[in-house]
């Protein structure tokens, strides 16, 4: 099963999560180490908070989370489980380093917006703009995410490394000149 690449504007209802949601909450080791199938991984998305989450989430839902989302393990199965559960993007106050890299690598939009958890409630409808990298809340206020280098935004828009490589036969950072981030 392959999912559509993210569109430029994503609208959806939000699931709001606290600070320090680690990768073992997102998908425990004992499940992720026993499959290589993203659809199977999705059955354990957010298992540490709610083993039935995958039955409750709707395609196109969004995550809004506190600080340090995705801390801990390097497991790419964490963003993969979230993506294949139907969640279209994650907005967080901050991300743990490896989770953030993995999100770009697999094409799960991840936007860092300090203060966002104070502006959004559970099941609010919000929208995310992948062109100008911003979030618009229910009351129409626009919040810009922290700046991300263009090669990463391009990678995100093309759906991650597999899709990018298949199309270009190269990686988006090849030939990159040193730039301030």
């Amino acid at each position: 099963m392959s999912l559509p690449t993210p569109s430029t504007i994503i609208r959806g209802r939000t699931w709001v999560w606290p600070d320090d949601v680690n990768t073992d909450i997102i998908i425990p080791f004992r499940f992720k180490a026993r499959t290589n199938d993203p659809v199977e991984m999705a059955k354990y998305a957010m298992y540490g908070f709610d083993p039935e989450f995958y039955k409750k989430v709707k395609p196109g839902d969004l995550f809004v989370a506190g600080r340090n989302f995705g801390g801990g393990s390097s497991r790419e199965q964490a963003p993969v489980a979230i993506k294949y559960s139907g969640v279209a993007a994650v907005v967080a106050e901050s991300f743990a380093r490896i989770f953030y890299r993995n999100s770009f690598a697999i094409g799960l939009p991840a936007l860092e917006v300090p203060g966002i958890t104070k502006q959004v409630k559970q099941f609010d409808e919000i929208s995310i703009n992948l062109q100008d990298w911003s979030v618009t809340t229910k009351d129409g206020k626009v919040y810009h995410a922290l700046k991300v280098p263009e090669f990463l935004r391009g990678l995100m828009r093309e759906g991650g490394l597999v899709e990018y490589y298949k199309k270009h036969k190269s990686f988006p950072w090849e030939g990159l000149q040193a730039t301030a981030s």
């Binding site: 320090d20 080791f29 390097s74 690598a105 301030a180 981030s181």
Partner: protein, 425 residues
């Protein structure tokens, strides 16, 4: 130009490595800049490797960039505890055969690379968060995910952002019963779980010379629990002796400049530290072992990439010798590598463990990852030397996990509850 960068007084360790490695060392890359650097080594293990193999094949790449530089390590669940894991192990072995890359089964990746392959100045990308352990010998070592690992396998390169650096100045001498693990647990307690996120930790100060490579590896490994990208001990005489004794050639030394800019600086007087315990769970504060009451421990786990080294098992042997594990508490000891396992058997430590009533297992990540060799059941309580006390990490979501040094764990196994190990040493 490279030599000028290495001699520059104003650059951090991370700035120097990235500048020297990127574009053949033509220019300086300062904190915050993005650069592309070649990998000297790439490692994936049995819970990240299968996904990397799948992605590599989906990309349509035929051959890896350099088979000799690629290591696959079956360590997290070794030997396979069930059929599903066994089938993923088969996938790894088939890929190894097809691509001619290196394979190790039954040693923890970080310890295996430290003992045999990783050298100072090397760039190591590992599909495992605790890859930063190799900072202990002055390597640029950091964790990535499976798709980026597939990209490294394909091209031998990856983008990095030059991280901000944090300097930790260690002074004083550890008291009896206090070890490297207590230093890093104390530090994480101080800065919090994201206190080192995206950053490079540089461990400095006069007390560093008293820390063995095993102790440094414990600190660099466990630094991941504050989110760091790198955790560095620069090459010093301790490192040089380590490589000389092992009859291995060191690569090259990189030293941060004395006028380098640090985002934060901390001082820790080791003489003030007590044996530290973190738990239950990661939301709890770090406390001294002596502050705990007599709550019963169902399990004590001594092992993992953080604390399953020979030095750790020696201390555990000293504490357990001539004593019995408390009835009602199970104590599981799991070495970090085959080398540590064999040494413990030939020098009598294994006998001490068995006579005390402990279980002594093969080398693997073991109980740390909640998949075999000591899984926790509903509402059980465990004291562990492994890196993480997350909910559900070692089994049931209702299980409580506390973390400590091997000494505190061993003494607590004898008493059946958390104690300060001082009186056993």
């Amino acid at each position: 130009m490279s030599q000028a960068i290495l001699n520059d007084n104003s650059l951090t360790f991370a700035e120097k490595v990235i500048s020297v490695k990127s574009d053949g060392g033509k220019k300086v890359h300062h904190t915050g800049e993005i650069a592309v650097i070649p990998a000297d080594m790439a490692m994936a293990q049995d819970s990240t490797g299968p996904l990397a193999i799948k992605v590599f094949r989906e990309m349509g790449v035929q051959k890896v960039w350099d088979p000799k530089k690629i290591h696959l390590v079956i360590d997290h669940s070794f030997p396979a505890p069930d059929e599903k894991v066994a089938n993923l192990h088969i996938l790894i072995r088939e890929f190894v055969k097809q691509q001619g890359v290196r394979l190790v089964e039954g040693s923890i990746s970080h310890q295996h690379l430290l003992e045999n392959h990783v050298v100072p100045g090397m760039v190591l990308f590992g599909a495992d968060s605790h890859t930063c352990q190799a900072g202990a010998i002055g390597a640029f070592a950091t964790g990535i995910g499976s798709s980026e690992m597939a990209a490294v396998w394909a091209s031998g390169k990856l983008w990095v952002r030059v991280p901000e650096s944090i300097k930790i100045n260690l002074t004083g001498q550890l008291k009896k019963g206090v070890f490297a693990r207590d230093i890093i647990t104390h530090f994480i307690g101080m800065v919090g779980e994201d206190g080192g996120n995206y950053k490079s930790l540089e461990w400095k100060g006069p007390a560093v010379k008293n820390l063995s490579i095993a102790s440094r590896a414990c600190i660099s490994n466990n630094s991941m629990e504050c989110g760091c990208k790198l955790s560095i001990f620069e090459v010093d005489p301790v490192t040089q002796v380590y490589f000389k004794t092992a009859n291995r050639k060191a690569m090259f030394e990189i030293h941060a400049g004395p006028k380098a800019q640090y985002k934060e600086e901390y001082d820790i007087d080791l003489g003030t530290l007590e044996p530290q315990v973190w738990g239950p769970g990661n939301e709890s504060k770090v406390r001294s072992a002596s502050e705990f009451g007599d709550d019963h421990l169902d399990e004590v786990f001594i092992g993992s990439s953080t604390n399953g080294r020979y030095e750790d098992l020696q201390v555990v042997g000293k504490i357990l010798k001539g004593h019995k594990i408390k009835a009602g508490t199970r104590c599981i000891i799991t070495p970090a590598s085959r080398n540590v396992f064999e040494r413990a058997i030939t020098d009598g430590l294994a006998e001490t463990f068995l006579q005390s009533g402990a279980v002594f297992t093969n080398a693997t990540c073991g109980a740390c990852v909640g998949t075999h060799l000591g899984v926790l059941g509903e509402n059980e309580t465990c004291l562990s030397t492994s890196p993480r006390n997350y909910v559900g990490r070692m089994g049931a979501s209702t299980a409580k996990i506390f973390l400590s040094s091997p000494a505190t764990a061993a003494a607590s196994a004898l008493e059946g509850h958390i104690v300060d190990p001082g009186r056993y040493l």
